[in-house]
């Protein structure tokens, strides 16, 4: 019987559980592991081993997609460390953020209701959102370094994760605003998003 595969993506790739990841190293490990687990190399092996190779390839692909993207990587680590992004109640979201997002949405709605003349204002709003997103990415980089410098599971590490979750929440909202303003500027994007998706 074959040994069990590491479930954790970091362990599977044999890299440290840090938020800052050298993507060149990650990519090298991906190719190595991909060659090692390639199903073609298992055609003459037992059904058990074939099944395991298939499973390993699936973990490898999911893990690579997750770890190479800073936001997905952070969301993954947050979940692993007990700060799942998807199971928050409103009380976890600071009121200032909700106020800010609400006001931005109100402004965007007014602009969208306007005639052609508001088009340049919409462009301005879009640039503003993109700037916000860029500054969020920089904020994340700083927080990633803060988490990585802290001892695993320490108070400082937990504190950093909580801050990261807050920043990711804000990022999600800004991301939605970008999509929204893109749809307003180019109706063909909005059409691509069907009515069903919005419900």
């Amino acid at each position: 019987m074959s040994s069990t595969l590491p479930r954790n993506y970091y362990d599977f790739f044999g890299i440290e559980r840090k938020l800052t990841v050298d993507t060149d190293v990650l990519q090298r490990r991906f190719y190595e592991l991909n060659r090692h687990w390639h199903p073609d190399r298992f055609t003459r092996k037992s059904p058990d081993e074939q099944a395991q190779a298939l499973e390993a390839t699936a973990i490898l692909n999911d893990g690579y997609r997750t770890l190479r993207d800073p936001v997905k990587r952070a969301e993954y680590l947050l979940t692993e460390e007990g700060f799942p992004i998807g199971e928050q109640r409103s009380k976890d979201v600071p009121p200032e953020l909700l106020e800010e997002v609400f006001e931005l949405n109100m402004m965007l709605e007014e602009l969208k209701a306007g005639d052609e003349s508001t088009c340049s204002q919409l462009e301005g709003a879009r640039q503003n959102f993109l700037d916000m997103r860029a500054s969020i990415e920089r904020e994340l980089e700083v927080l990633f370094a803060k988490y990585d410098a802290a001892e695993a599971h320490s108070k400082a590490a937990k504190q950093a994760l909580q801050e990261i979750r807050g920043v990711l929440n804000r990022r999600r909202y800004i991301e939605n605003l970008v999509r929204d303003v893109d749809g307003a500027l180019d109706p063909s994007i909005a059409v691509a998003e069907t009515a069903e998706d919005r419900l």
């Binding site: 992004i85 949405n105 419900l199």
Partner: protein, 137 residues
């Protein structure tokens, strides 16, 4: 996925969209959000301070149709209820009324949170109940 006629109706003709004077002592405001789907919901109630009955309710939601329908329905239900009755509204009532699919249950939770936040805000604005007990009508 099929959506109930009631969701579509509230989505296409949302009830009570708008806002009330946030600074009024009789108005309670609840602002809640679900970051994972990017929704933000504002719900307000205007309470008659003598009777404790909600005279008006308004909402504004940026989010999916189910979130809009949930908050629209909530404002309809709130009108005419006392603040204590309002707190009894459960997200499951909204789920049943709108036949929300499982993936949209969080939208109804958001609406329930918004009701609680609005009533909580109204209650915070009121004078302490001990003092009220002395007033003779």
């Amino acid at each position: 996925m099929a959506y109930s006629d009631k969701v579509l109706d509230h989505y296409n003709h949302p009830r009570n969209v708008g806002s009330l004077d946030k600074s009024s002592p009789n108005v309670g405001t609840g602002m809640v959000g679900a970051p994972e789907c990017g929704d933000v919901m504002k719900l307000q109630v205007k309470v008659n301070p003598d009777t404790g009955v909600i005279e008006d309710a308004k909402f504004k939601t940026f989010g999916c149709g189910s979130a809009i329908a949930s908050s629209s329905l909530a404002t309809e239900w709130l009108k005419g209820k006392t603040v204590d009755q309002a707190l009894e509204i459960k997200n499951t009532d909204i789920v049943n009324e709108l036949s929300l699919p499982p993936v949209k249950i969080h939208c109804s939770v958001l609406a329930e949170d918004a009701i609680k936040a609005a009533i909580g805000d109204y209650k915070r604005k009121q004078p302490a109940p001990e003092r009220e007990a002395f007033s003779v009508s």
